[in-house]
Symmetry: C2
Subunit: 113 residues, 2 copies
């Protein structure tokens, strides 16, 4: 009997969640508004729906890792996000952890089936 | 003012959490008891304390992704864990997601600062 799709989705989501934070901070070294960030992440293969991205951006801003400001562009008011100084520090740390995890997973794969 | 260490630790932990599930399932393609699994993961650079590993193993077993049995070895009763058929299916899916995330992060790094 195959494993239920919801259970599988939950496991892969757990894997994605941390990476999405890293990806968002990384991409926001350049300024983006929500939709342009989503488009950029999607162009790299990281699809993220609005219901996940916007709460994540709010959370990262509340934690002081992002700053945002409203501005009019192309005749529309948009909220632009960019990484803060604290965010840069967090990003550096997360990049370092990411590299360690990658190394570990490569070694693990060589040593398991 | 530098970002507080607890906040940084929480972010890196979020990144690690999903990877630890993937790593545990992957390593448990071979049978292990708790301590031998911890030692193996640590040898790959994935340090994980008992207070994190044991609840994770219980959770994965409750979800049907692992099986376990008590056995005496070297004069001590030990609980041995191994991946189940459902676990193999979940592992395949998570490996696939992991590869996608890796590709995405590589492209992202090439395209951001």
């Amino acid at each position: 009997m195959p494993i239920e799709p919801e259970r599988l989705a939950k496991l892969t989501m757990e894997l994605r969640r941390g990476v999405l934070i890293l990806a968002a901070l990384s991409a926001l070294q350049q300024e983006h508004y929500g939709y342009s960030l989503r488009k950029q992440l999607a162009s790299f293969g990281l699809e993220i729906d609005e219901g996940t991205l916007y709460p994540l951006l709010r959370r990262l801003e509340n934690q002081g890792l992002l700053t945002s400001n409203w501005r009019e562009e192309e005749g529309r008011r948009r909220r632009f996000y960019q990484i803060s100084e604290d965010g840069q520090e967090a990003l550096a740390k997360m990049n370092c952890e990411w590299n360690n995890l990658n190394k570990a997973m490569s070694i693990l794969k060589e040593n398991t089936l």
